[in-house]
Subunit: 199 residues, 2 copies
């Protein structure tokens, strides 16, 4: 990684923390410059505009998610083991501190849902592709004979998303010590309701 | 309702819309005064401080929720019919526009989870009491013999919350036309997995 690239990465890493805390709307080039002790002109040379900064922060968060959750889980055998690996790593990701992106996409979803524009459009594309990936792994588990053929992959992916949002709510807002166990039970129940007798 | 009370209500009604859109942190007495064409001193006479305003907005949202969701549903027979009525009215509430409070608590949860203070404390109390109320209705359904005795009321309440958060995400961010149907199926599956043969 060149010096320019590693500076850019350090900026984006900090930007995710800021955006998770104060929202994308509170993430300004001036604020980043001050907090990272860089010049505003230096930051502009990396990001050109606030809008470009927002899009790059979202892309950076997505790249971290793929690196930490998707890629390692794809090493698991297809079907149920891969689905379980995706959920386990997603949960670990959700537990990580903001600098790793843990609560980033949940914060973005609430902030951007009523803010039309390129950042919202990109977030929607990213979230849809994640849900579609989950649904695709469910469909594979059906083809492998592990889940019943009448299982609806999109519904299961949707419900898995709900389990993760409930985990966020219980752990981050309610400080529920059982949050992680509840999330695991939610997901296990979603699978158990659809398992074939053989699996 | 006296004139002072109806002014206060009009202010809080607008404050919920603002807070849903820009967060509680963006809700200032100056902004409210400007948008409602009232004097800042008049607003201060109602709310005294930004912190008091925040707490009253949360209390007002909770009162609307009780009025629109909890009270009417408590008219249904206890146990499963009441649980279903709570979910149905909660879904209707979530679909309502911000001036009715629809997305208000979801927005508050994401904003306040990492902002310690009286507003967060109050939100946690309000959300816990709602989840406890749901769990209490589940426990009644178990006593009525409608749900299996080994059902965990807290887990079901937690999962119902997840179904509602997934509904928000699918409908408000992803514009998924199937969001409502998915939410109803999620909740029906939660009940079906725990129903006694008799119910």
């Amino acid at each position: 990684m060149g010096k320019g690239e590693s500076t850019r990465e350090a900026i984006l890493r900090h930007a995710i923390v800021v955006a998770s805390r104060v929202g994308l709307s509170g993430l300004t080039i001036g604020r980043l410059a001050q907090e990272l002790d860089l010049s505003k002109s230096g930051l502009f040379s990396h990001f050109h505009s606030k809008e470009a900064l927002e899009l790059q922060v979202l892309e950076y968060g997505a790249a971290r998610f793929v690196e930490n959750v998707v890629k390692p889980a794809l090493a698991a055998p297809r079907g149920l083991p891969r689905l379980q690996a995706l959920f386990d790593r997603w949960l670990t990701w959700s537990q990580s501190d903001p600098s790793s992106g843990g609560c980033f996409f949940v914060a973005m979803a609430t902030e951007l849902d009523d803010r039309p524009g390129p950042a919202r459009d990109l977030l929607v594309r990213l979230q849809r592709s994640w849900i579609d990936l989950l649904a695709g792994v469910v469909a594979a588990a059906i083809r492998e004979g592990q889940l019943r053929p009448d299982s609806d992959p999109d519904q299961l992916a949707h419900d898995a998303y709900g389990a993760m949002l409930a985990y966020h709510h219980a752990s981050r807002l309610l400080d529920d010590p059982a949050a992680e166990e509840r999330a695991r039970r939610s997901f296990a129940s979603l699978l158990d309701a659809r398992r074939t007798p053989a699996s």
